[in-house]
């Protein structure tokens, strides 16, 4: 069970905060909290802080950023060559960890509207597979020479996901 919240601050800054239990076979194993803040500058979108913590020690924690083009209500199409990752081998319980040193940056200006796709995956103990959370940023579109967020209801389709995968 997860819950999250988008906020937009002005037209160039927005964030998403998510909290949720995760578990295995009906048993809750931990609580995960993720946070990402996006700052637009020209055609660049910086995700920083890009943050994660859980209530139990986790391992193989992977932060991932990517760029989608598409407008409000659209799933978005991946822009090739934009994927970025940051890995941490183990994270103690309740320790906030960040994509260091400067978070994830995406850049493209060939399309009119974009959303940045950011995600976290982790594994735990001897359990198989991994858990994941992902979030698409508020849609941002070009106006003049720069891009601007379109409002905290201006979301792509399927803006968030969370679950387990093998």
């Amino acid at each position: 069970m997860t819950s999250g919240c988008y906020d937009q601050y002005g037209v160039t800054s927005a964030d998403y905060e998510q909290t949720g239990d995760w578990g295995w076979d009906g048993t809750t194993l931990g609580l995960a909290e993720t946070y990402v803040e996006w700052t637009l500058n020209g055609a660049q979108n910086t995700a920083k802080p890009f943050e994660y913590h859980t209530s139990v020690p986790t391992k193989n924690v992977l932060f991932e950023g990517n760029l989608l083009y598409g407008g409000v209500g659209q799933l978005g199409t991946q822009v090739s060559g934009k994927i970025g990752t940051y890995a941490i081998s183990s994270v103690p319980a309740w320790e906030n960890v960040y994509w260091q040193p400067n978070g994830y940056k995406s850049y493209d200006s060939s399309k009119s509207c974009y959303s940045q796709l950011d995600g976290w995956t982790w594994s735990y103990g001897n359990y198989p597979g991994y858990w994941y959370v992902s979030v698409k940023s508020i849609v941002y579109c070009k106006s003049g020479s720069a891009y601007y967020f379109q409002g905290d209801n201006a979301l792509p389709a399927s803006p968030t996901k969370a679950g387990w995968s093998s």
């Binding site: 800054s13 700052t39 020209g42 055609a43 920083k48 802080p49 934009k82 400067n102 940056k105 020479s145």
Partner: protein, 200 residues
Amino acid sequence: MLCLHRRRRLAGAANDPQPKSKNMSRRTDALETPADLLGRRLQRFGLAMQSTRLHGVIPDEVSGDEHLELLRQVLTTLAEDPAVPPEFEAEAKRLLRVADNLPKAIGRCGTVYAAWASSHRRRRDEAGCYTCYWDQAPDGTPAFLEQGPQVPDLDLVREWAHARSDRVYVRPAWAPDTAFWAGAPTLRPNNIEPLRDASK
């Protein structure tokens, strides 16, 4: 104000296949494309390991500088590798100089965008700062040229920007949602106000 468009190539470059980097720009022309060509020549010369190392740090798309430090390290290693012949060593050293001074290789052009970034859930050890980058447009198709420093000092940002372009947009700390013009007055767009000190 025109960008330099340097195309320094080693002999035989005209016969090389398409380079790895797909988003061609003055930046990739100056650094990543010749680095890729150097890697191909190393491969042809039988230095497969050195070639693989070099290709491993050149991204398919250059839309940031995250790879730059690793590229510098690999070029430094190549320049000091006794197995690398002098002509390739010289090219590695030349590319290191390019990596260390991209504005010199690219020339003044394009647009610099700078914006104040201050997290709404700021970490206790982290103050706000400017984030800035250099874009090729309008002197060519929009393309990333270089990432700027992340510093709280606007004067440093302006200094960095003016070394690269006459077109500079700044969203300052005191009005982070509003773009002001810090470039050459004659180039200021009609709808953008000039940047003035916050205290005035």
